[in-house]
């Protein structure tokens, strides 16, 4: 009987909690030939997280907050835990914490969105973290020649100092534990956090950037250059030269970089670059028109390197222009290349 609560809609299929089974097969069944495609979370819901209904270890969204500069570097070169302050692993949050306040003050204004398979995750208990934290308080006592038995005993004016030492020691203890334990991915239960060891960092798949520093991070990335084929196609279409002269080369190049993930993942890289550049040319043109309605000299992204400053109030125009520009150039690409029309 169907009834309220008897069906749970996962993103990819429906789960029946009375049966403990999905009502349809696993879309990724070829990846898990050893088990029935109808089981939930590999028949081990304590160990596995089945977020999308796509397998015992769905790619789970994770988030890493950092500065825009770090985000630019990580987006292009990948995570490098050996360069981090906590040698040997990288922390990720399992919740996006949309609307969190205060992080921009920490130079952590950019969030790297990624996914990871948690099939082999190991757990770190809150008790373990608490013990390490208290060891950190002992270290702080030693460093500062005091003997406080709890943070509450520390005078108010000094608590931040003790907190920061305990915080650092806890992470060092965690790093030591992970190395000794030999695991790769750890879930820290009380902090909605995943720690990924250096040897497993390639399992983390970056999917995009968000946060107030994302645009700045994108502007710091190396810019992929157009190859001769797509540049020629754009020139032939006519608007490319105009847009570049009006909007400036930087604007277009940055826009291409912003779509870098889609470009990298595309089966047809040239077509995708063409499409994205076209979209941003449209955005530039649209923004130019839209700017008439906006205040002069407004900025979208504060700080140095703001390539969007001149667009000001043209944001809405830019968005409309982007969409139309993207569609137009995609069609132009199809016409020029898929139908064998020479671009020269």
């Amino acid at each position: 009987m169907k009834g309220e609560g008897n069906q749970v809609a996962f993103e990819k299929r429906i789960y029946d909690p009375r049966l403990g089974r999905f009502l349809s097969g696993d879309p990724l069944e070829k990846s898990y030939p050893w088990q029935s495609t109808y089981v939930f979370a590999g028949d081990n819901p304590i160990k596995f997280i089945d977020v999308l209904g796509m397998g015992p270890g769905d790619p789970v969204p994770i988030y890493h907050r950092t500065s825009s500069q770090n985000a630019a570097s990580i987006s292009q070169s990948g995570f490098d835990p050996s360069k981090s302050n906590r040698n040997g692993f990288t922390f990720f949050s399992t919740t996006e914490k949309i609307g969190s306040i205060g992080s921009s003050a920490a130079s952590g204004n950019t969030v790297i969105n990624a996914t990871i398979d948690l099939t082999n995750v190991k757990d770190i208990t809150a008790r373990q973290m608490s013990d390490w934290y208290n060891e950190g308080l002992s270290v702080a006592n030693k460093q500062l020649k005091t003997n406080y038995s709890s943070m509450a005993d520390v005078p108010e004016a000094s608590r931040v100092k003790y907190q920061s030492i305990a915080d650092g020691v806890r992470n060092t203890k965690l790093a030591d534990f992970m190395k000794a334990d030999g695991g790769s991915v750890y879930r820290i239960s009380s902090k909605s956090t995943i720690a990924v060891a250096e040897q497993a960092i390639s399992q983390v798949k970056i999917t995009g950037l968000s946060g107030s520093g994302a645009a700045e991070a994108i502007s710091m990335m190396a810019r992929p250059s157009l190859n001769g084929e797509s540049a020629a196609a754009l020139r032939q279409y006519g608007k490319a030269t105009t847009a570049m002269q009006w909007g400036g080369r930087t604007c277009i190049a940055v826009a291409v970089a912003s779509d870098i993930f889609e470009i990298y993942q595309s089966d047809n890289v040239t077509r995708t670059i063409t499409k994205k550049v076209g979209g941003w040319m449209g955005a530039s043109i649209g923004a130019s028109a839209g700017a008439a309605y906006g205040a002069a000299g407004g900025t979208i992204v504060p700080g140095p390197g703001n390539v969007f400053g001149g667009i000001g109030g043209g944001i809405i125009g830019g968005i409309i222009g982007y969409i139309s520009g993207e569609l137009v150039t995609e069609k132009v690409y199809d016409f020029l290349f898929q139908r064998g029309v020479s671009a020269k």
Binding site: H64, R65, T66, S67, N70, P81, S84, N85, R86, F89, T90, F91, S93, K97, G99, S100, I101, G102, S103, A105, A106, S107, G108, A126, M129, S130, Y133, N134, S150, M151, A152, E156, R159, V160, K161, Q163, S164, A166, D167, G168, R170, N171, I188, S190, K191, T193, A195
Partner: protein, 128 residues
């Protein structure tokens, strides 16, 4: 509770100093406790503007109950309707955990588990 203000901590840039402007005085988050302070110069601080959304949704905001974790994440049950969380978010590329404020709404439905978690924490007494 009328307003919440914050500013970057002078010693650790990833941490923030947090002040609650209430009818009973200004409360400062002091990691393990909430203490009444004389400060009322909020002009140089940042205001948590989302408080306005909660005021318009729930009316007057009252701090019902405050609890904290072993490492000084602090949670405020507000008007029995939502939770204001002050949390240290573990971070491996910054020098310290980055401290954040977030709102947990819908605690009777999708975020019901957060209330269970909240009730397991240690109580923090509000100043008289």
């Amino acid at each position: 509770m009328n307003n919440v203000y914050y500013q970057q901590n002078s010693e650790v840039k990833e941490y923030i100093d947090i002040f609650f402007d209430t009818d009973r005085g200004v409360l400062k988050y002091n990691l393990t406790s909430l203490d009444i302070v004389d400060t009322n110069n909020f002009l140089s601080m940042m205001r948590v503007d989302d408080i306005d959304k909660m005021k318009s949704k729930y009316g007057l905001l009252f701090i019902d109950e405050v609890r904290k974790t072993y490492d000084n994440d602090m949670y405020f049950l507000i008007s029995g309707k939502w939770i204001l969380a002050i949390e240290y978010i573990l971070n491996s590329t910054l020098n310290h955990s980055s401290q954040e404020i977030r709102f947990i709404d819908d605690i009777d439905t999708v975020n019901k588990e957060q209330v269970v978690f909240f009730k397991e924490l240690d109580l923090v007494s509000l100043p008289d």
